[in-house]
Subunit: 316 residues, 2 copies
């Protein structure tokens, strides 16, 4: 089967590749065409997932399709954007139709959940590498940035952390636990939920935002650097995944602080928005505050500085 | 050196990554932000280039940067779009600073030539894989498609073909020729010129267009299929690269018909536009015509059907 037939049969004919909404023209020409309404800007982000780096070799392709798209769409959530379209650059060692069908179904489930449409791509033979570029719209001048945190704001996270890091230990066999906990951890890992509704709610509320992909401390550090502020995190307030805690409470806290991969949002917000936030998003937790200075301080229960490691996953 | 520093030092600080024109916000947040003026649509296309598939192992990174971006921007040219921004998803085996600087300079030269800005990316450790997503703007509803060819139109190509295929034989050592010819072929291969001015000129003129990436016959076949027409190509009219012809006239014609990689535009156009076209674009050649039917017919000097092979490079 040659490249064009492969793409046409499996991706082009898929339900999530039909032009709708802002997508004026989809797969089949040299470019796709998108409509960006007056008063909106286009938000765009690119992610690559490599076998052996971002996911274990032999991963089920359905799970991979779901997760790859969720991870990419999370960047749109972090800017407060509404998803419209994505492109797929896929390298794979051979044209395995079963693998491709599973992957396509995984993409389809997440595309449906996040209301995004496949508009183009490129398939080549090579080591498994999934490149996704996601696009969305956001009201002009209102996109959520990392650089707008102000001293005096509170620091929040959208939900519990640490489950994805724990799941990776289950996947690589370094942690062995009961089936129920294992299933909960793996579900968190394979289907992270892009925080689109929260991102859109935060528009116009003065928040500085990013998604937790490298680990809470590392990502809070990015927010501090870009905003020119200090971020203080109270360790006791950090919400730790209950499933991860089954393994070891101490270990789970460490994963929550440095593990990454959970794709919750971390954001600054002024105190007068806190009640409205908690009404709308009961899973969100206040974990600290923003003050003048630089870097990230992690405080223990006695208000002592525990310190900050250089954290998060580094590719080089 | 870790990922963030690597990206910041080499790509973020590069001249071609400074927000300008339609780029409202560039590298540094979860997404870049683009302005799409009222009355315009966004055109978007993704390409991957893999070592050993799309370019020989050990290729000079400056040449690679130039060519990778030119190939991607060619898709914008084929739709009549004006480039605004691109993202880079780069996998490479190690963080080789010299390699990265060369690659970045290559991108910079082509970004300057085509007036496009780097707005984001993702760098990971893995087999060398260059993923580029390019974005541009095009007047709403006017983008050039493959599906609008009409019986009675002429078929044109923007310039000579076959040099890139010949260059690949020089690169892999299967053809040995004099230095002058070799230099001309390699220049064509490493710096294809995206036909942006021609694409923009064709807007509103009823042309069906695509770029020659898979080979003239294969790409003319895509145009025929998408338009529901037959395309007739007169072999004697196909412009063959003079440098490629030095090797062998017969072989050069074959490369021109099936070689691909030249990134000229092939397009249909009504006869009454032909004079204006040739005044503006003297390198363009009429190579045949469009009629009712399907597929591609290749005719020899006597008007006999030479036939059509299933041509172009197939990844699977």
């Amino acid at each position: 089967m040659h490249e064009f037939e492969l793409i046409r049969q499996i991706f082009r004919d898929a339900g999530y590749a039909r032009p709708q909404g802002a997508v004026a023209h989809s797969i089949g020409d040299d470019c796709a065409l998108l409509n960006v309404p007056t008063g909106q800007q286009l938000a765009v982000s690119t992610d690559s997932l490599l076998e052996g780096v971002h996911f274990p070799a032999g991963t089920d392709s359905f799970l991979l399709g779901q997760r790859a798209l969720a991870v990419a769409v999370s960047d749109l959530a972090a800017m407060g954007a509404t998803p419209i379209a994505f492109t797929l650059a896929l390298s794979l060692p051979q044209a395995d139709v079963d693998w491709l069908r599973g992957f396509s179904r995984g993409l389809e489930v997440m595309a449906h959940k996040t209301a995004i449409t496949l508009v183009g791509g490129d398939t080549t033979r090579g080591p498994l590498n999934i490149g996704l570029t996601v696009m969305g719209t956001v009201p002009a001048g209102q996109a959520l940035l990392r650089s707008t945190a102000q001293p005096g704001q509170q620091l929040w996270v959208s939900g519990p952390l640490g489950a994805a890091a724990a799941a990776l230990r289950v996947l690589d066999g370094s942690c062995v636990i009961d089936e129920t906990t294992s299933a909960a951890l793996l579900a968190s890992y394979w289907t992270p939920e892009p925080q689109l509704r929260l991102g859109q709610w935060l528009l116009g509320r003065g928040a500085a935002v990013l998604d937790v992909s490298d680990g809470l401390l590392a990502d809070a550090g990015h927010l501090a650097t870009e905003s020119g502020v200090q971020v203080v995190i109270e360790q006791a307030l950090v919400p730790v995944s209950s499933a991860a805690s089954v393994l070891s409470a101490e270990q789970a806290l460490s994963w929550a602080l440095t593990g990454g991969d959970d794709y919750q949002l971390v954001f600054s917000l002024s105190a007068d928005q806190a009640v409205a936030l908690q009404e709308q998003f009961p899973a969100a937790s206040r974990i600290g505050y923003v003050c003048t200075g630089q870097g990230v301080l992690l405080l223990d229960g006695q208000g002592q500085v525990v310190g900050v490691e250089r954290a998060g996953y580094q590719h080089f």
